[in-house]
């Protein structure tokens, strides 16, 4: 790891890590595109901390009726080495716009993509979808890397879901 106490070194490192952030031309894709996701290095691996990402503009299509679905996604995770870069996450989430999937499948798919991308210590994805036919669906995906501490967190949050989705802002 470079000496990140030096501002210039830090800025160069972050600049080299991600391509889409700050790009003069952003390409928007409306079909599922997990390759858009980018990571940067967690430079505080010695301590565990939570990262929460709120996405209020998630939309996809119903695979049966082709009608649009809308929802808020809340992503909470404890990083290991890699962390997801938020602009790439935005573009990735936009790529579901013309994808037809059930709410439960979307949330699990996003959870699995983020686990594959980052290998986090712990990660959860909560989907708060707008009602259709008077019923709103709120699936929750959770993952632990198998270490006892994170297994304990996953178990606790699994058993206590809906108490606190940990939304910020």
């Amino acid at each position: 790891m470079p000496n990140i106490s030096d501002t210039k070194t830090y800025q160069m490192k972050r600049s080299d890590e991600v391509q889409q952030l700050g790009s003069e031309h952003t390409e928007y894709t409306y079909e599922y595109a997990p390759h858009l996701l980018e990571t940067f290095e967690n430079i505080h691996p010695q301590r565990d901390y939570w990262v929460t990402l709120n996405a209020d503009e998630f939309t996809s299509l119903c695979p049966k009726t082709n009608q649009p679905d809308f929802g808020t996604l809340i992503i909470n995770y404890i990083p290991n080495i890699q962390m997801v870069e938020s602009k790439s996450l935005k573009l990735y989430l936009f790529s579901f716009m013309n994808s037809g999937e059930f709410h439960e499948d979307v949330v699990n798919k996003i959870g699995k993509d983020l686990v594959a991308l980052m290998s986090p210590k712990y990660l959860e994805v909560v989907g708060l979808f707008y009602p259709r036919g008077n019923i709103s669906i709120h699936p929750t995906f959770s993952f632990s890397n198998g270490e006892a501490k994170y297994d304990e967190i996953e178990k606790h949050r699994f058993l206590n879901r809906n108490i606190n989705p940990q939304r910020i802002g």
């Binding site: 928007y28 503009e57 009608q67 649009p68 809308f70 936009f94 716009m97 707008y130 008077n134 709103s136």
Partner: protein, 121 residues
């Protein structure tokens, strides 16, 4: 697409609201917003199924954000005869800037909570 019309009692004050407005900016970035339509009936209103389909059809249309309220106003205005039609679109913030676009008659939109959406706060 055309909006069909239905007969309603004259002088009824009607307000439609949808938090599911989506269209594309010229950059290609999707814009999300909440749509408010307000008017006084002169004996007719729009068919709600058609209105839903029309709103959905905007997902693949490109607009300058500031023109979206006029687009919707014009669509309704050409479909039905009403008094004091107004359209307001509250767009989600982009680059830290929140936009409200208003075309037509003045009105104060009633912001209704979606009672089925469990508050994440």
């Amino acid at each position: 697409m055309d909006l069909g019309k239905i007969a309603v009692i004259e002088n009824t004050v009607i307000e439609y609201m949808s938090p599911e407005l989506l269209f594309l900016a010229h950059s290609g970035q999707p814009y999300r917003g909440t749509l408010y339509i307000h008017f006084v009936s002169k004996g007719e209103s729009v068919d709600l199924v058609d209105l839903k389909k029309y709103i959905t059809s905007l997902r693949s249309c490109t607009f300058t954000a500031e023109n979206i309220a006029h687009e919707i106003f014009n669509k309704i205005h050409t479909a039905i005869d009403v008094d004091t039609l107004g359209v307001i679109v509250d767009l989600s913030a982009r680059g830290g800037i929140q936009q409200r676009i208003h075309f037509g008659a003045d009105f104060e939109p009633v912001k209704k909570q979606n009672i089925f959406q469990v508050s994440p706060h």
